[in-house]
């Protein structure tokens, strides 16, 4: 069995990173959280767009699952929650409620509030002091060899073009099959991109109830799409997909699901929830590059992968369409398009572009990609991780707002 060098965590888990997480309990605390993480090395925060005010319970629970999910993720060593005061705001994101949920993972978690610290400025000062202590304590945890069955990776495909379904996604699918054979786990998502491929995916579900739920998720989303009164091609495939040769949503979906490899689907998950079983899972989620990677991290993935087509991107060092957007999980950008690989050398971590040039096979590229994933799990930084910038995050809300 393959292995990687991971940070040991309680409950037989292992991190690929060793972050101290500073969580704002509500958007009003974002100002304090960013001051602390700007000041203290080795920290991460999650600044989400979309205020929680006026949202119904299901959507407030979604924010809470994201925040607690980042904290429970094995890549997080300890968490500091910054709140207004005890009992303030909606109960789902009330600071002590968040801490109680996070404590279940058996890792250090502490709440600091404006009320108890004696003001917002004082909260920042105490947050900095505590974060520095946690970062030092985190440094005493050392990487050690752990078997690949402790690894869970999440995948999104994007900026899709014709290489996505032929080379990039199948190579990832092959790597996913190899990790699952080693006892590890993989989550794929993007419910819109099951439309046209959902019957095949439902047939791969190990459990009938999961198959039913998967078909239901697709049905609900397709009905919502029809309610817009638009041809879905005005929404997805995106104009850039169509320019790159993907003509219909069905065509995009059939290429997209190649990233799910050939393993049985062991779980069909609600948004931002952790799988109960190892192996391959599908999670309901929004395809946006500013939303999905963090949702995969909240589900527990220790690495998020962005499988990019990218043929229509600008021809020299294009900006990546979201940077470090998996919060505590490294985001690895891969492509099956040799043209993308050469124009975005500074951003692409792995290319399976040799396939469409007839120089390699999906099997060979899948093996090479799995080796690269294990290296990044062991501490090799992704090209995106060398940049300090993190894009603002967008939770996948159901809406409406009131």
């Amino acid at each position: 069995m393959n292995s990687f060098l991971g940070f040991p965590r309680p409950g037989d888990m292992a991190g690929t990173r060793n972050h101290v997480l500073v969580l704002p309990a509500g958007r009003v605390l974002s100002i304090a959280a960013t001051r602390v993480t700007d000041y203290v090395a080795g920290t991460k925060t999650a600044i989400t767009g979309g205020a929680e005010v006026g949202r119904h319970k299901k959507d407030r629970e979604r924010v809470a699952r994201l925040l607690t999910g980042f904290a429970k993720n094995p890549n997080t060593y300890a968490t500091i929650i910054l709140g207004a005061k005890k009992g303030f705001g909606y109960q789902e994101t009330e600071p002590y409620n968040l801490a109680d949920e996070i404590a279940k993972a058996g890792k250090p978690v502490e709440v600091l509030t404006v009320e108890e610290c004696g003001g917002l400025d004082r909260l920042v000062e105490e947050g900095i002091a505590l974060a520095r202590r946690y970062v030092h304590a985190a440094s005493l945890v050392r990487r050690e060899p752990v078997s690949a069955d402790r690894l869970m990776i999440g995948v999104k495909c994007g900026e899709s073009d014709a290489t996505s379904g032929i080379a990039g996604n199948p190579s990832f699918g092959r790597a996913a099959d190899l990790l699952i054979k080693d006892g590890g786990s993989v989550i794929f998502s993007e419910t819109t991109e099951l439309i046209g491929a959902e019957v095949d995916m439902a047939e791969r579900c190990a459990d009938d109830a999961d198959a039913k739920r998967l078909l239901e998720m697709v049905f609900e989303l397709e009905e919502a799409a029809k309610q817009t009164g638009e041809d879905i091609r005005g929404i997805n495939p995106l104009p850039s997909n169509i320019a790159a040769g993907i003509s219909t949503l069905e065509e995009k979906s059939l290429g997209a699901v190649r990233k799910a490899g050939t393993s049985k689907i062991m779980g069909v998950l609600e948004y931002a929830t952790q799988p109960k079983k190892k192996g391959l899972s599908f999670m309901d989620g929004w395809m946006s590059a500013f939303s999905l990677p963090m949702s995969l991290a909240a589900a527990g993935c220790q690495i998020a992968i962005y499988q990019m087509g990218g043929d229509v991107l600008p021809s020299n060092d294009p900006p990546m369409l979201a940077t470090n957007n998996a919060v505590v999980a490294p985001l690895m950008i891969i492509t099956g398009n040799p043209r993308t690989a050469s124009k975005a050398k500074r951003s692409i971590d792995f290319s399976s572009g040799a396939i469409i040039k007839g120089e390699s096979s999906v099997e060979q590229m899948g093996e090479a990609l799995y080796a690269k994933i294990l290296s990044i799990a062991s501490g090799e930084v992704t090209k995106g991780e060398t940049i300090r910038y993190s894009d603002p995050l967008e939770p996948y809300y159901l809406g409406p707002v009131f």
């Binding site: 046209g196 799409a225 309610q227 041809d231 879905i232 040769g245 949503l249 040039k357």
Partner: protein
């Protein structure tokens, strides 16, 4: 080397993996063998070429599955894309048209 890939034997389109001009004799890799086909118009990288003549309304297959239907007839060796095929899923525009005609 090949110019295009047919992914499954039932597919009536192949994906072109290089820039192809009009009148090019393409080498196409199918699951079983290599075949040749002449393009009747330019086919850009990543776009699809018709492996046989396709009638209006005929189902387009790629990955062995339907990806939509032809809205015009398409000649063998022609470009297959958003200008001459349409998806049938998630079509809110069709729902609205049906609603309006009631």
């Amino acid at each position: 080397m090949f110019h295009a890939l047919q992914l499954e034997p039932v597919d009536n389109v192949a994906t072109v993996v290089t820039e192809v001009g009009k009148g090019t004799v393409l080498t196409i890799q199918t699951p079983a063998e290599t075949i040749t086909l002449t393009s009747v118009e330019p086919i850009p990288f990543g776009h699809k070429i018709a492996l046989s003549a396709i009638e209006k309304g005929e189902v387009i297959k790629k990955y062995g599955r339907p990806i939509g239907r032809a809205i015009n007839s398409i000649p063998k060796g022609g470009l297959v894309g958003a200008h001459n095929i349409e998806g049938v899923r998630g079509r809110g525009d069709l729902v609205r048209k049906q609603g309006a005609s009631k």
